[in-house]
């Protein structure tokens, strides 16, 4: 049987893997959705864009559902505190997400241009709002989320949405929206043909630069922000509760992990290198490599956030000991062990059939194909 402390670390890594899986798989759907009204100048072009992700977006969104479920099972406190403290932001995300399943399926069911245009903007909102808000939420983790827990692990004090819209958090929102836009653009360059691929290429060039600048700016800003360090806690192999730890707060503390574990620098470096590579390959028409590079960008940037915060998952600015860490916010050892087994069995199966589906649905989406399959395509 694996030690409890090791299970906690494994589940921290798995949480990261699920988030990265979600951001890579559903990220290009969201990027494509954000670009839809701008890159498609007429209905046929927009249908090319939509059908490039049409058959597969649904499976991709399941990464979000699964990441949510896994957080519930493995990190119940993280799930309960984050969802209730970010109440309004999460509901706005949810309302925006409503437009995606219906948008994809209903848009082509009526020929009226007004109807279709309305759904295009619905799909835009359903992609842009979550992409931005998830980034803002991550930004808030670095600033510390204003909440306090009581002895029963009940949130007794927290502040509302407006408090979450702080400048650094908004910048993180831009990083997130930028990287997903970039990812959507490399995907479109790969899967669409002709004029749309051309336009996507211009987006890649711009978004790679935009993300690079905003990511670097966020990194520099981080040196000026009060970070937290865990200075005292109980035995990591025991079942711990959040309040029983000591936390120090200091400027630039979020960068201290990179001194202790220099290999963590690989994460931001992957982010930067991926951005340059995506731009370079896209310009030379190597869309496949550019797509892999933008996937690496996403992994690099999310890992940077995770590594910088480690061992914190959800720091509290109001009352630092209330903050949630890898050591004191997880499920019992028994549950973590069982869930690990479930993931080991099912994740490879999921990856295998997802790969098969992408193989079946492969090929470039063209305007001619949309015209030919007008009754069956989205």
């Amino acid at each position: 049987m694996i030690e409890y402390a090791a299970l906690k670390i494994i589940w921290w890594a798995l949480l990261g893997a699920l988030l990265i899986g979600f951001a890579i798989a559903d990220g290009f759907d969201m990027g494509v959705g954000m670009l839809l009204p701008f890159l498609g100048k007429n209905d046929a072009e927009r249908r090319v864009i939509i059908n490039s992700i049409g058959p597969t977006w649904e499976g991709n969104q399941t990464w979000l559902i699964t990441a949510g479920g896994a957080t519930f099972a493995a990190w119940p406190l993280v799930y309960s505190v984050s969802f209730s403290v970010f109440y309004v932001a999460l509901l706005l995300t949810l309302f925006a997400l409503f437009f995606r399943p219906v948008g994809f399926d209903y848009r082509s069911k009526l020929p009226d241009p007004l109807w279709r245009n309305a759904w295009d903007w619905g799909l835009f909102a359903g992609s842009a709002v979550p992409a931005f808000i998830f980034g803002v939420a991550f930004g808030n983790l670095f600033l510390g989320v204003p909440f306090r827990l009581d002895e029963d692990m009940r949130v007794v004090e927290s502040s509302g949405l407006l408090h979450h819209l702080r400048p650094f958090a908004l910048l993180c929102g831009l990083v997130s929206a930028g990287m997903l836009c970039l990812h959507g653009a490399t995907y479109l360059q790969l899967r669409a043909d002709g004029v749309i691929a051309q336009r996507a290429r211009r987006v890649v060039a711009f978004m790679a630069l935009f993300t690079l600048i905003s990511f670097a700016a966020a990194g520099l800003w981080l040196t000026q922000i009060d970070g937290q360090r865990l200075v005292g806690m109980g035995d990591p192999n025991a079942a711990l509760l959040p309040l029983a730890k000591t936390v120090s707060v200091g400027k630039g503390a979020w960068l201290s992990n990179y001194h202790v574990y220099p290999w963590m620098m690989l994460a931001p470096l992957t982010g930067f290198a991926g951005l340059l590579l995506a731009r370079y390959c896209s310009a030379r028409g190597r869309a496949g490599v550019a797509f892999l590079a933008s996937s690496a960008v996403i992994a690099g940037i999310i890992l940077t956030a995770g590594f910088s915060l480690y061992p914190f998952l959800m720091p509290s600015s109001l009352h630092p000991p209330s903050g949630l860490t890898v050591w004191d916010a997880c499920s019992s050892r028994h549950t973590l062990f069982i869930m690990l087994g479930v993931v080991i069995v099912f994740l490879p199966i999921i990856l295998a059939y997802t790969a098969w589906v992408y193989r079946v649905m492969r090929g470039t989406v063209t305007v001619e194909r949309i015209v030919r399959e007008s009754h069956t395509a989205y």
Partner: protein
């Protein structure tokens, strides 16, 4: 500042609205996916084009419905965290497992293959495509299994124990969680209800084409598939119904007594109340018409076991509340650092009833200083109102039996190959379409309202489960849900009606009613 009760009530209202709304779409997905499998199997075996057209047309309606199921399903997963944060912390160690497994085992399967179902017709062999359709059906039904395992644990929480270090419930046996007898019964009952919804949907729309003499070959085959599938489903719902689940677990016993308005424990075997007016104030049922023996047979599968009445169950709950107070007192000492063997022994002796002591929080936050009057009121809270349970249950059963009759007639005349001669049967098939939906929603109300005042039966009172959000937050989210859901429902129903009216002509194959009507040769049949 609104009272904690107001926050809990608003949160309950929101959960009820969003869950009942979600379940307008889920049952159709559960059943229609199997109907598609049946139709496509016939296509693969016989090679007849019409069965492919049937799969694709009903698949179109499936798609319109499926999108709404997905849309409203995300809400359900978010809502435990957003609105029931303390619940999520307190039981996430157990309750989170089936939700996570649902994502990994079921929802991924269903969502990944549903796109291939719609867009893979020309890219796959016949058998491969049928396999894809089958995997969509399997995924959606497995999804229901895991959600019902989660729900059944709320009704009958097995395989878990309170941990004094983390102050929450933790898993002791994953096998007990999965093989919870309530889950098995609920799963069969719920998916069979979903199959009935879908069968009645196909039956009604096909009957409408038949009445109008449109696309009759297509409609008659669809009608026959729905009649056969529907009869098997509605029989499963009724025969394998929920009754056997009611005897498992304390809250389930209370539910059974409420449904039957059994105020007193009757000498076995108990009679069933076919009709009556439950009178909550006087605690009796007026004008009751009783059928002897039946309830005892259904509930206990015996003639010598008792069906416990409401008053007796309430008295037992009062004893459990009193027994829970020492558990709560010991827990407070433990939390204060006293881990002496005597305190731990005291806690372990009474811990089964810790949840019952928590019911007192409504009347006295300190719990241990509860007066007899407060204990009495907390015990009274364990009895939900009888009339809604009594009537809504009868509404569900009534709908079920009308559907049974409809499907028997439909199946009989299909077997005799004479459905064309019975327009009244066609009208019956159309008019009964809403009934399985009403029954399904009624069933959920009975199951969940009947679980009150608990979120986790006997473990965690509803009142303690909600998040610490403001009333303003709740009004915002409730308004958002009502606004968006109304808007989406209008659009969904409009599209559904449009495509149902169009019928198989919407496939643009050139073989069906409107296309032939429009053809220049005037080849109207």
């Amino acid at each position: 500042m609104p009272s904690p009760e107001a926050i809990v009530d608003l949160s309950r209202l929101q959960f009820a609205v969003t869950a009942l709304y979600h379940f307008l779409f889920v049952p159709l997905t559960l059943g229609l996916s199997w109907i598609l499998v049946i139709m496509e199997s016939v296509y693969v075996m016989t090679g007849k084009q019409i069965y492919k057209d049937m799969t694709r047309f009903w698949g179109k309606l499936f798609g319109i419905n499926f999108a709404m199921g997905v849309t409203t399903g995300i809400t359900m997963e978010f809502q435990f965290g957003t609105n029931w944060a303390y619940y999520s912390h307190y039981v996430g160690d157990i309750f989170g497992i089936p939700l996570a497994v649902e994502g990994l085992m079921a929802f991924f399967l269903e969502s990944t293959f549903v796109g291939v179902f719609f867009f893979g017709w020309d890219r796959l062999s016949k058998v491969q495509h049928l396999l894809v359709t089958f995997l969509v059906a399997l995924g959606s039904n497995l999804s229901a299994l895991w959600i019902l395992i989660a729900n059944a644990w709320m009704q009958n929480p097995v395989g878990a124990e309170f941990n004094i270090d983390t102050l929450r419930m933790e898993l002791t046996s994953v096998a007990a969680l999965i093989f919870n007898p309530v889950a098995q019964v609920k799963f069969v009952h719920t998916v069979a209800a979903g199959y009935t919804v879908a069968a009645s949907f196909v039956l009604g729309i096909s009957a409408w084409y038949l009445l109008r003499g449109r696309d009759t070959a297509f409609a008659a085959r669809s009608y026959a598939v729905a009649a056969g599938f529907g009869l098997a489903s509605v029989l499963s719902v009724i025969v394998l119904g929920d009754e056997s689940g009611y005897t498992t677990g304390e809250v389930q016993k209370m539910k059974l007594a409420l449904i039957e308005a059994e105020w007193e424990t009757q000498p076995p075997p108990a009679g069933i109340t076919a009709f009556g007016i439950p009178n909550q104030r006087e605690e009796r049922t007026d004008y009751a018409i009783k059928i002897p023996w039946v309830l005892g047979l259904i509930a206990t599968r015996s003639i010598d076991e008792e069906v416990t009445g409401i008053k007796e169950l309430r008295a037992a709950n009062e004893r459990r509340i009193r027994n829970g107070i020492p558990a709560y007192a010991a827990l407070q000492k433990i939390r204060g650092g006293d881990r002496s063997p005597a305190t731990l022994a005291e806690f372990n002796t009474h811990k089964e009833d810790l949840g019952y002591a928590l019911l007192l929080k409504k009347y006295t936050p300190a719990v241990i200083d509860a007066t007899d009057e407060q204990i009495h009121r907390a015990a009274a809270d364990t009895v939900p109102r009888v009339a809604p349970m009594f009537w809504i249950f009868r509404l569900m059963v009534g709908c079920g039996f009308i559907m049974l009759l409809t499907f028997i007639l439909a199946f009989y005349y299909c077997a005799r190959r004479s459905i064309y001669n019975h327009p009244s049967l066609m009208r019956l098939s159309i008019y009964t379409m809403p009934l399985p939906w009403i029954a399904a929603e009624a069933g959920w109300i009975v199951a969940e309202y009947g679980r009150q005042p608990w979120t986790i039966s006997g473990i965690l009172p509803t009142r303690l489960s909600a998040s610490s959000v403001s009333a303003g937050d709740l009004y915002f989210s409730l308004a958002g849900f009502i606004g968006f859901y109304t808007f989406l429902l209008v659009i969904e129903v409009m599209l559904m009606l449009k495509y149902a009216r169009l019928g198989p002509s919407s496939l643009a194959t050139g073989r069906y009613h409107f296309e032939r009507a429009a053809a220049p040769s005037g080849a109207r049949s």
